[in-house]
């Protein structure tokens, strides 16, 4: 077989953990396949938004993509389960689930839609931030206008906490936080820092309500068309890049936290997160009544240690 060129998508900029890891994946791919496969990476989301890039990988225009499972949810229902608030206890719990039967069920759901996850990347935990006060109990969220990503689960989460969910384009969030069009938003440490949102919303409350993994995905037809030996090489390269990404991610989280705290951000641990998690019962109920077939997966995740 002649040498093949694949194209890959990644939304992050140069120097970001995922970008470095994707470049490493390209190198490893070249080494492990003896130059049979070359991966040309397009960083910075230059080939389109995340939902568009997911579609491009499914259609085969791109071979590879680094995606968050959030926007995969509307396509593969199994992947949407990880967008349930408080479904994972922490990041380690998430990886234990993904490396077990739960991860397999999500993979199968994605493969049915033309995407195969080769490895799982870390995107940390998302927490609330706002400009007014620390959040310690659901009551603190009551009446607050909180920007959320476009997903019924996220807007349901804010509603159940008594807040006012406000879906809003990412580019408008900074200005809206500054002027008070919204009172708060939620994200992980590195995004909170790199978007500058910490300049206009100085209270970061460690709610860790969403822990959504990322995947290094490949077009299913391309992967299934490879020899078994090649498939192993590709998977191995992906796993090694994921190990690197998780290390870099941990470093980046720490340095981002340091940066924003040095700039005067007030961080607070939430002593008891149970009231938040318990308030999510109606969200789970509504979700499971619409997706009854996913109940086993949800229960499997909840029962995983």
């Amino acid at each position: 077989a002649g040498a093949e060129t694949w194209r890959g998508w990644n939304i992050h900029v140069e120097g970001y953990p995922n970008t470095v890891a994707m470049d490493r994946f390209a190198e490893l791919l070249d080494e492990k396949t003896d130059g049979e496969i070359t991966l040309q990476m397009f960083h910075g989301g230059t080939l389109g938004s995340q939902p568009d890039a997911i579609e491009q990988v499914r259609l085969g225009g791109l071979a590879i993509g680094n995606f968050n499972l959030g926007p995969i949810g509307p396509i593969a229902p199994e992947a949407n389960v990880v967008s349930l608030p408080f479904i994972f206890k922490d990041v380690d719990h998430m990886f234990r689930v993904l490396n077990g039967e739960g991860g397999q069920m999500i993979s199968d759901g994605m493969e049915a839609k033309g995407l195969i996850p080769l490895a799982w990347y870390d995107a940390g935990a998302r927490s609330f931030y706002n400009g007014d006060k620390p959040i310690n109990a659901p009551d603190d969220v009551a009446g607050m206008k909180v920007r959320v990503m476009n997903n019924d689960l996220y807007s349901g989460m804010i509603s159940e906490l008594g807040g006012n969910p406000s879906p809003m384009a990412f580019a408008e969030v900074y200005q809206s936080l500054k002027t008070g069009v919204v009172d708060g938003a939620e994200n992980n440490w590195p995004s909170y820092e790199s978007t500058g949102h910490y300049e206009v919303a100085g209270y970061y409350s460690l709610s860790q309500h969403l822990i959504i993994p990322e995947c290094l995905c490949i077009n299913a037809d391309i992967f299934n068309g490879l020899s078994e030996e090649m498939q192993d090489a590709v998977t191995e390269a992906a796993q090694e890049s994921a190990a690197l990404q998780r290390d870099l991610w941990a470093e980046r989280e720490a340095s981002s936290r340091e940066t924003v705290e040095a700039a005067g951000v007030q961080t607070n641990e939430i002593a008891d997160k149970t009231p938040f998690a318990e308030a999510m019962a109606p969200v789970y109920e509504a979700y499971l009544s619409q997706n009854a077939d996913l109940r086993p997966l949800v229960e499997l995740i909840q029962s995983t240690d």
Partner: protein, 427 residues
């Protein structure tokens, strides 16, 4: 070879008279086909080109502008403006520049500026004896103030592309002086061209007439107050403020001026839809075209070529300006910010150029690109608003390009212009 298909076919289509929007679409889809990429992705890019939230402000500002125009607000605004500064030669040209400075400071979108101000001022300027090309030139070039003067969503895109470490509020502050400087250069150009063409100054009508004109214009002027005040006080976002501008303009013309009739309203809607659709289909097809340019790595190849030429810092900065200008001529702004920032920012950093200053250089360059053929959304909209063929507008636009270029050179080689204000306010 594929790149040749893309650019060649685009050139041929434009030349034989295919509308520019469709020339972009046709050549892009042909390149998709040539590369064996799924054509469905080509059409996905066309849809995604306009599936962008910040573009939503465009129809609103166009609609508000049409309502203000057909409902008599524009006429009263301009009556006031010419009473105030009409006594200067080329007064309306200067009014045009300074309204952009104020309006652009609100909207953050150059195209929205042209849609709103251009649809008001260009017809009035024509009526007052200014040539259409002059009116369009002033409107088009001054509109890019909206990108440089804060707030500006393009600055936020730059900060994100720079990968952290850039404070958006500091970036906003950095834009104030360069934005005003650019407007001063443009106002000077507008004045000089007006003198050369012998546009007459109007006579000063006296203080009473000025006060009356002001009172007449006040309810209309409130549109701006509502938009600025609403955004600054945090009542709504820029996009929402556009919708409110339209709703307010409708109510004022209906209840206060009583100029709006069902017939007027229908014309305003019809014109707005026509202009909006023309702009949107162009941005949409440019999305597919830009995808193929990125696919062929045109931006990064250009940089490789450039850095191979010299290592003199002044020459490299000039080269960066040149490359950005050329890329800006053929590609859309947001895509270019995302592509060029990670490539050029490290180069600029290594030369000791401050990232905030570099942001201004990038934005002014790409802003200028919005006013140039063959791909310049501001120029397209300006020509549509002024009902003028593009080649006619471009023939006499040089003094205004030169004014922006002058500002660009000052911003490039005098760091204090960008850095003093953020240093004072936010050290």
């Amino acid at each position: 070879m594929g790149l040749l298909v893309l650019l060649g076919l685009f050139g041929v289509c434009v030349l034989i008279g295919v509308p520019v929007a469709f020339a972009l679409g046709i050549s892009a889809i042909a390149a998709f086909w040539y590369e064996g990429l799924p054509l469905m992705i080509g059409f996905q890019r066309i849809i995604s080109g306009i599936n962008v939230f910040s573009l939503m402000a465009i129809p609103f500002f166009i609609f508000a502008g049409e309502l203000m125009f057909h409902g008599g607000i524009a006429m009263r605004l301009v009556r006031f403006a010419s009473a105030a500064v009409g006594a200067v030669r080329g007064g309306l040209g200067i009014v045009n520049v300074f309204s952009s400075m104020l309006f652009g400071g609100i909207s953050g979108s150059a195209v929205a500026d042209i849609s709103a101000l251009g649809s008001i001022l260009v017809p009035v300027m024509k009526e007052k004896g200014y040539d259409a090309d002059y009116a369009v030139n002033v409107t088009v070039t001054s509109s890019i103030a909206g990108i440089i003067i804060p707030p500006s969503h393009n600055m936020i895109i730059f900060a994100i592309a720079a990968g952290g470490g850039i404070s958006i509020s500091k970036l906003f502050l950095a834009g104030v002086v360069p934005g005003v400087l650019m407007c001063l250069c443009l106002a000077l150009a507008a004045y000089l061209v007006a003198v050369r063409r012998g546009y007459r100054a109007e006579t000063f009508p006296g203080w009473v007439a000025l006060a009356l004109a002001f009172l007449g214009a006040l309810p209309g002027l409130m549109t701006a107050v509502i938009i600025v005040g609403g955004v600054l006080s945090g009542v709504f976002t820029v996009t929402e403020s556009g919708a409110f501008g339209a709703i307010y303009a409708f109510l004022v013309t209906l209840l206060v001026y009583r100029n709006i009739t069902w017939e007027n309203f229908r014309i305003a809607v019809r014109q707005s839809v026509r202009t909006t659709a023309m702009v949107m289909i162009l941005i949409a097809c440019a999305g597919a075209f830009a995808y193929m340019l990125t696919f062929y790595r045109v931006p990064s190849r250009t940089v490789e070529l450039m850095t191979g030429l010299t290592d003199n810092p002044i020459l490299i900065l000039l080269l960066i300006n040149l490359v950005l200008l050329v890329l800006g001529m053929i590609m859309d702004m947001a895509a270019l910010i995302l592509i060029c920032t990670p490539i050029f920012l490290p180069v600029a950093n290594s030369l000791g150029v401050d990232p905030y200053q570099f942001g201004m250089i990038l934005l002014v360059n790409l802003g200028l690109g919005l006013c140039t053929p063959p791909v310049g959304s501001c120029l397209f909209v300006g020509c549509a608003v002024g009902k003028l063929p593009m080649e006619k507008a471009v023939r006499t636009i040089w003094p205004f390009y030169f004014a922006i270029f002058l500002a660009l050179m000052l911003i490039t080689f005098v760091p204090a212009i960008s850095l003093t204000l953020p240093g004072l306010v936010d050290p």
